[in-house]
């Protein structure tokens, strides 16, 4: 899932001030899951803005703001565009852009889009994938050294991997320890002797696209 972080309410207030009526969009997929931009947070932002004298013309949180079909079918965008002066979106960067493509009023974002990650006991989220376009985890026990090692090392740990901790931030584990024990566990540790070639960075030059036409 895409993990986002709600901006400080004061910052949001500063951004929307001077626009007039604000329509707030959340997103029930990623933003709601990480409790930083679902319906609940959208209402919290609305309450705060109203307490500061900002007029809120509506609050909606579709079940996936980045899914165009659902949005248009609900007509929420048209409604928002008609009776508001600005839209504040708590959806991820992709969802927010999609909203902007469908309205003719300004669209602001109330979140920072952080990463593709997983949820840990509803308490925190860890980055697991940077969508590098050339997945290597079949070779590394299903654990990603691209996203989970700050240096994206594929040929084994760096010399700063001390006592299981990462040199970059000792509060996070060096992922190569996890990869080693996982590969041991599944009997594939020998695979890690193989030198991995340099990455072809053409696989992650943006903007990328996925084309379904002409697929066999």
């Amino acid at each position: 899932m895409v993990v986002v972080r709600l901006k400080p309410l004061e910052d949001i207030l500063r951004e929307v001030s001077g626009y007039g009526k604000v329509f707030i969009f959340g997103c029930q997929l990623g933003s709601a899951r990480c409790k930083n931009g679902g319906l609940r947070e959208a209402y919290r932002v609305a309450g705060f803005l109203e307490s500061k004298g900002i007029k809120v013309s509506g609050v909606k949180s579709p079940g996936g703001t980045c899914i165009l079909e659902r949005l248009t079918s609900k007509d929420v965008l048209r409604e928002a565009g008609r009776n508001s002066d600005v839209i504040l979106s708590l959806a991820c960067g992709a969802g927010t852009q999609l909203i902007a493509e469908h309205v003719s009023i300004p669209v602001l974002t109330g979140v920072s889009t952080l990463f593709i990650g997983v949820e840990r006991e509803g308490k925190h989220f860890d980055e697991y994938c940077i969508a590098c376009g050339e997945c290597v985890i079949s070779e590394t026990g299903g654990i990603c050294p691209i996203a989970r090692c700050p240096k994206s090392l594929v040929n084994g740990p760096c010399g700063g991997a001390i006592a299981g901790k990462c040199e970059v931030d000792p509060s996070i584990p060096c992922i190569w320890y996890k990869i080693a024990s996982r590969m041991e566990e599944i009997g594939e540790i020998e695979k890690l002797r193989k030198t991995m070639p340099p990455k072809d960075h053409r696989s992650c030059i943006y903007p990328r696209e996925l084309n379904l036409e002409g697929r066999s």
């Binding site: 994206s152 594929v154 320890y177």
Partner: protein
């Protein structure tokens, strides 16, 4: 004789580390090294070590060479993609720089420009492969160049890092990729130095054991923070007891160096603080050591 010729002839080598200046005045650095001329076999020129901005290691290596010192150009993957790395290596070859020591490099956020973009396009193993390919007369993409480079390629090994199996395999990958000598992180235990020398030799490369004189208890604690198992308790106790910890730390490392001289292939001083003492010590080693050294 170059560093690699000495290594292949079985001569015990002594290298030392030089940091380029944090500025443009390199004269002080060069004049400081004078007492070591003809004694230290080669000087590793660090590449913005600890991610702190300093003068380019390539330029500083060239300046050393011009002054009659043999440099080991250190190059990391932190700041350059494969285009820049190849370009710098071709430049180094053109300037007559023979020795290179290739490594992944410290992370950007640990230095004085934590907001910089980390590059890490290649890793150390792939960078060594790249240099080997230049030695065969080809760029990384296989295109031939007008001449072969003639680099003596080195790499690094930290015996305190883990997981052990993967660190050893990575070392093997580096040697397979073309590393001929391996310089280690500082070691403070003679038995460990011997084991590490054997390990590196078994991969087919020349081991050069890192030595870093500890100047104070504070420094010992700092080293312990980096590598908890690297500094033995006996060393810390000695420093605590000593009325002159700097002297104690120096003598500790000198004893270690004498021990390594008996079985090893080389040592690498990671600090050239005590230039005169180091020069004297090297004279002592050369004159009192193994028979094959007297030449």
């Amino acid at each position: 004789m170059t560093l690699c010729e000495k290594l292949s002839k079985g001569k015990f080598v002594i290298t030392a580390e030089v940091a380029p200046p944090r500025g443009i005045d390199y004269h002080k650095v060069l004049s400081g090294l004078k007492p070591l001329k003809g004694k230290v076999d080669a000087f590793n020129v660090t590449d913005c070590q600890r991610s702190m901005v300093r003068m380019s290691s390539l330029v500083m290596s060239h300046l050393l060479l011009k002054e009659g010192f043999e440099p080991v150009l250190q190059l990391t993957c932190r700041d350059r993609n494969r285009i820049a790395l190849q370009s710098d290596l071709l430049g180094a070859a053109a300037l007559g720089i023979r020795n290179i020591c290739l490594m992944t490099g410290d992370f950007t956020t640990l230095g004085d420009q934590p907001d910089a973009k980390p590059v890490f396009d290649l890793d150390s193993v792939q960078l060594i492969e790249l240099a080997s390919s230049l030695n065969r007369g080809c760029l990384m993409n296989g295109k031939e160049i007008d001449a072969r480079t003639n680099f003596c390629i080195g790499a690094v090994f930290n015996p305190f890092a883990g997981p052990e199996t993967l660190q050893v395999w990575k070392l093997e990958k580096k040697v397979k990729a073309g590393a001929r000598f391996i310089q280690t992180q500082p070691i403070y235990d003679i038995k460990l130095a011997e084991e590490v020398s054997e390990l590196i030799s078994s991969t087919g490369a020349y081991p050069i054991i890192g030595l870093l004189p500890i100047k104070s208890l504070k420094m010992a604690n700092f080293m312990k923070k980096l590598n908890p198992t690297s500094v033995p308790d006996s060393l810390v106790e000695g420093l605590e007891r000593s009325s002159d910890p700097a002297r104690y730390g120096w003598e500790y490392v000198v004893d270690l160096a004498k021990g390594i001289y008996e079985f090893g292939k080389g040592i690498h001083f990671m600090l050239v603080g005590k230039v005169k003492e180091l020069a004297n010590f090297i004279d002592y080693l050369r004159n009192n050591g193994r028979g094959n050294e007297k030449n």
